[in-house]
Every structure is written in structure tokens, then in C-alpha cells.
């Protein structure tokens, strides 16, 4: 679809190219969410994150979320880029970008996309701590 762009990549994500793609003459504003690797979880120092994806399903689930956002809100374009592999502190694992004529729809759709991605897209992160590695959310 010309108004959806999905990328799952082992390469560094390019924030500027996401912004360039999402902007359009019809847009009154764009909303961009950039996820970054945090240096601690619940007070414990994190050294790096490893992201693994079930690639074909992750792409199809991201496409579904983008289509849902276009159906639920009057937004013009939706972009989802996600990294795989090892990321250091401060690196960018995810970029969500949405353009719309008015800001309410852009904010709401952007939040929906990142919240839903975290619930349904088959991507997993492993946090590396001093005393070992832990798959996030795996155990109660």
C-alpha cells in the first residue's frame, strides 16, 4: 500500500528518512515515536539488548496494525520500522511515524500503533545484565 511503510532490519534505522517519507502536502502534522535502549530495568544496569523476530509473521502483524490505524483514525500515512540483532544503550529499536491533517488523530494513531506492536508483533528482546541474560516478559 502506498500509505504504509514497514521495515524489519538488522541495519541502523534512519530517523530522517522516516520523517521525509511520512511528511506530505496534505499533512497538518506528523507524530513520531522513537524507542531507545534504556540503561536499566527496575534499578538493574542493562548492558545491551538482543532482538529476535519471527520475520514473516512480524512483518504481516505490523502491516495489520498499520492498516487498523488507517481505518480507525483519519490519518494519511503510517510507518513502522523495527530493528533486529544486538543494540547498545541509546540505540533505536523502533520508529513509528504517522501523518494526519490534524494532531489529535496523529497522536492517537501513533500511540495505538506502538501499544499494539508491543502486544502482538512476534519480536522478543533479551536484556543483558551483569549476572546474566533475561528474555523480557517471558515469566510471570
Amino acid at each position: 500500500m502506498p500509505n504504509i511503510q514497514i521495515l524489519l532490519s538488522a541495519e541502523v534505522l534512519n530517523i530522517q528518512s522516516c520523517i521525509d517519507w511520512i511528511m506530505s502536502p496534505e499533512s497538518g502534522g506528523i507524530d513520531v515515536f522513537i524507542g531507545t535502549v534504556r540503561n536499566a530495568t527496575k534499578g538493574k544496569t542493562v548492558f545491551k539488548l538482543d532482538f529476535e523476530a519471527y520475520e514473516p509473521m512480524a512483518i504481516s502483524e505490523m502491516e495489520k496494525i498499520a492498516k487498523q490505524a488507517l481505518e480507525k483514525w483519519p490519518v494519511q500515512k503510517v510507518l513502522i520500522h523495527h530493528r533486529t540483532g544486538t543494540l547498545q544503550i541509546g540505540e533505536v529499536p523502533v520508529i513509528i511515524a504517522v501523518s494526519a491533517a490534524h494532531r489529535d488523530a496523529a497522536f492517537d494513531a501513533c500511540r495505538y500503533v506502538i501499544d499494539t506492536l508491543k502486544q502482538t508483533v512476534p519480536i522478543w528482546k533479551k536484556e543483558a545484565f551483569e549476572d546474566g541474560d533475561v528474555w523480557v516478559a517471558a515469566h510471570p
Partner: protein, 80 residues
């Protein structure tokens, strides 16, 4: 029928490999598959939850598995 099951994240560590082969009856469901896997890999039951995907779509417990379906174990996701 013989089926292959892909594993990701913590499930890959529980299986000790990224793919396992299983023998199922021809009318087996997702429920049957989960039961069999939990017998062979009891640590699966310690997960917060896990889903099964068939041909890149989340499946329900009553869904039937067919030969050559692509089956994957989806532990709790944590992207973003």
C-alpha cells in the same frame, strides 16, 4: 503426520534448538500440540503464557493442524 515446530525467544532455549520435529495424529489440534510439547518440555508451563502460530497467524486451541503447516511457538512478545 510429522510436523516441524519453530521456536523463538525463550522457547528456543527451552527446546535447546530453533526447530523440533513431532509426530501428531492427522486430526490434531493446537490443544493437542501444546499438550504434547508440555509433556516433552515441562518448562513451557512455567512461561507467563505462550501462543501458537500457524502459517504466520495466531491460532486458537481448537484449530486443526495440517501437514506442511508452518507452526511456531510464540512466547510472550516484547518488541518495541
Amino acid at each position: 503426520m510429522k510436523i516441524n515446530v519453530l521456536a523463538f525467544g525463550v522457547a528456543k532455549e527451552i527446546f535447546g534448538t530453533s526447530q523440533v520435529s513431532l509426530e501428531l495424529t492427522n486430526d490434531a489440534t493446537i490443544y493437542n500440540l501444546k499438550y504434547l510439547l508440555e509433556q516433552q518440555y515441562p518448562r513451557l508451563k512455567q512461561l507467563a503464557s505462550y501462543m501458537v502460530a500457524v502459517n504466520n497467524e495466531y491460532a486458537l486451541p481448537g484449530d486443526t493442524i495440517h501437514e506442511r503447516d508452518e507452526i511456531a511457538i510464540i512466547p510472550p512478545v516484547s518488541g518495541g
